[in-house]
Amino acid sequence: MIIVYGSILIALFSFIIGIAIIISKRTLIMILIGAEFTLNSVNLLFIAFSKLHSNAIGQIFVIFTLTVAAIEIAVGLSIAVLLYRKHKIKSIEDLKELKR
């Protein structure tokens, strides 16, 4: 039981850390890392609750999210790299294209 509650706590902390990174950092790479943090904390929660309810479905879900996350980070990273190469953009302050 302690392991379960411990993991829930760890997940909570890492989620908050991820959010904090996303809010505070300006470089695209750091924001992506923050997003990964939040994602993996959710995965951890999945596993913890699956253990708590002794139900394997949560663990299966983790496998799925991991694959999707891998793809997502590949796309995100390539966008970040391309933005830097083409427009020399490192900070999100320079991203003003959303408003014309």
């Binding site: 959010i19 996303i22 809010i23 300006r26 999100i92 991203l95 003003k96 959303l98 408003k99």
Partner: protein, 624 residues
């Protein structure tokens, strides 16, 4: 039995998908054999046809208590049609090997031909009227594809479109007729329809309307007045196509449909009379046009319209057996005529104008003699196929007291002999009128082309003996064969002396027609020009096909074209485009307006998302 359908469609699919990778030899072996197999299956099962077998394949549509089966009907009518379709189709496939040898789209041609044969088999084998409609439309599609086979030529592409659109008009009536039958009978099955009719449940007025609506479809497919205009233009396609689709099989589908639903037509004298009058009128009318045409294939096209007119006439007066008999005999000799014409065109290097031919007899003897047999058969010279079949139609009309129609029929027989022998004399006799270059290249066609000609010539000679006139043999083979599929049998009294006189009369008429043709085009070659100068008005009327195409253009096509142009101008551009552009502009402006609430910085959005999430979560957790 399902294999009858399977082989042509599989072969067609393979040729469409992989045809371009296949060797020409494989294609030319593969495609005819896939038609030969159904023919053999048909012959093997021929004796079973008397049992009216239904082969269920699967339940196709099921709405309420109307069930439409995908089933094959094997009775005397469909068996005869299947043998005719596959047999003639096989011969024409073999012929095409030689005729199309130099064409670059060789596999495509055979793919379409196989597909056509498949749909034709669906049409004649169907056990219900919906499935028949599938075949009916399928053959229309293949006809379109094959008329426009040389689509690089604009006239061919246009002719294909014309055939398709004119058929659509007739098919609209056909479809409404089908729906009406479904509504009244609550079934599409031919057996159910016929038993419904024979039990007297169908009111005569309903039968009349249904009969006329279905006949509208038949006028389109079988090229009758007023929808025949597509058939002469359809000659743009390759000649084997004209032989198979526009002479032997597809265009007779309308006659087949009337005979298949003979119960409905027997019930209604009005609709039957319309059918008969349209038929005999078409027969006469098309024959007068065929008299003056100079394109060898156009003459044959109008001849086909005229002969189908005979069949429709027979079906209209209730001589269903005679109609199908003439249909099959016509398939033999008209396919032969077209293939012979194809052989001539092949030798002439693509020239179709008869004024540039002449004297071909000594260059291509096989083509000439087979063509001559077909000519004798179509004009009704005693002993040949057309004599028996045409005579039976005329005798039936005489004994059923349709005397006026009978007289027109006899006159048409005279014109038939005249125009077909005009064609033969202009093409094969007299002095060669072509250029020296062309004349040098004239040659007899290859074996693959002449052998089908010979087989068809044999069939056009002996085919007629399955139905001898009553005064020769008491029990006509064909009559007892066809009696099985007729719902309302009626006995007509044939008096033998009168019948013999009629036979003598029609033989005399045929020989008279040939004699006139001989006198005009061999003996006294200057006379036709003099005559046409003297009767300039009639000659021009016939030569320009009574200006029907121009009248249709003026009355129907132009109003549609200019009307649509007008609608396009004020409705499409003003209203439809206005709505579409307006909705686009609306979102553009509203988006512009809303963008004042946006900062455009990524950071702000993240803040908003997170605060929003936290807000929702707190509300949720605190249970507010």
């Amino acid at each position: 039995m399902i294999f009858i359908l399977l082989f042509p469609v599989l072969s067609s699919l393979i040729l469409i998908l992989f045809g371009r990778y296949l060797n020409k030899k494989i294609v030319s072996l593969f495609s005819p054999i896939s038609i030969l197999i159904p023919f053999i299956i048909g012959i093997m099962n021929f004796d079973k046809a008397g049992d009216n077998i239904i082969y269920h394949i699967y339940r196709w549509i099921s709405i309420g208590n109307i069930n439409i089966e995908f089933a094959l009907k094997w009775d005397h009518l469909s068996a005869a049609m299947v043998l005719m379709v596959t047999g003639v189709s096989f011969l024409i496939h073999v012929y095409s090997i030689g005729y199309m040898a130099e064409d670059k789209s060789y596999p495509r041609f055979f793919a379409y031909m196989n597909l056509f044969t498949f749909f034709m088999l669906v049409l004649v084998l169907s056990s219900n009227i919906i499935m028949m409609f599938v075949g009916w439309e399928g053959v229309g599609l293949c006809s379109y594809l094959l008329i426009g086979f040389w689509f690089e030529k604009e006239s061919a592409a246009k002719a294909g479109m014309k055939a398709f659109i004119v058929n659509r008009i007739g098919d609209l009536g056909f479809l409404i007729g089908i729906f009406w039958i479904l509504y009244v009978v609550r079934s599409a099955d031919f057996i159910k329809i016929n038993s419904f009719v024979s039990s007297g449940l169908m009111p005569v007025a309903t039968a009349t309307i249904i009969g006329l609506l279905l006949f509208a479809g038949a006028t389109g497919k079988s090229a009758q007045i007023p929808l025949y205009v597509w058939l002469p233009d359809a000659m743009e396609g390759p000649t084997p196509v004209s032989a198979l689709i526009h002479a032997a099989t597809m265009v007779t589908a309308g006659v087949y449909m009337i005979v298949r639903l003979n119960g409905i037509y027997s019930l209604t004298p009005t609709a039957s009379m319309v059918v008969a009058v349209v038929g005999v009128w078409t027969a006469f009318y098309a024959a007068t046009i065929a008299l003056t045409q100079t394109d060898i294939k156009k003459v044959l096209a109008y001849s086909t319209i005229s002969q189908i007119g005979y069949m429709v006439f027979a079906a209209g007066i209730g001589a269903y057996g005679a109609a199908i008999f003439h249909l099959i005999m016509h398939a033999f000799f008209k396919a032969l005529l077209f293939l012979g014409a194809g052989s001539v065109i092949h030798a002439m290097g693509g020239i179709q104008d008869m004024r540039k031919m002449g004297g071909l007899k000594k260059y291509m003897p096989t083509t000439f003699y087979t063509f001559l047999i077909a000519g004798l058969a179509i004009s009704g010279v005693p002993g040949f196929a057309g004599f028996f079949s045409k005579d039976e139609i005329l005798a039936n009309s005489y004994f059923m007291n349709h005397r006026i129609l009978w007289i027109i029929g006899i006159m048409t027989a005279l014109l038939t002999a005249l125009y077909i022998f005009r064609l033969i004399f202009m093409t094969f006799y007299g002095e060669p009128r072509m250029d020296k270059e062309v004349q040098y290249h004239i040659h007899e066609s290859p074996k693959t082309m002449t052998i089908p000609l010979i087989i068809l010539a044999v069939l056009s000679t002996i085919g007629g003996y399955i139905s001898l006139p009553e005064f020769i043999s008491k029990h006509s083979l064909w009559k007892s064969y066809m009696d099985k599929i007729i719902v309302f049998k009626k006995e007509i009294l044939f008096t033998h002396t009168t019948e013999i006189n009629l036979t003598l009369l029609s033989s005399f008429i045929a020989i008279l027609g040939i004699f006139i043709a001989w006198y005009l085009y061999v003996k006294n070659t200057g006379l036709p020009d003099k005559l046409s100068n003297k009767f300039k008005f009639f000659h021009k009327l016939s030569y320009d096909k009574y200006y029907i195409d121009e009248i249709y253009e003026f009355v129907f096509i132009n109003p549609v074209v200019y009307g649509s142009e007008g609608i396009y101008q004020w409705f499409d551009i003003a209203v439809i485009d206005g709505i579409v552009n307006g909705s686009g502009k609306f979102s553009l402006y509203s988006g512009n307006l809303l963008s004042y609430f946006q900062s455009g910085f990524l950071k702000d959005y993240i803040y908003h998302i997170i605060t929003g999430a936290i807000l929702i979560l707190t509300i949720f957790v605190l249970g507010l």
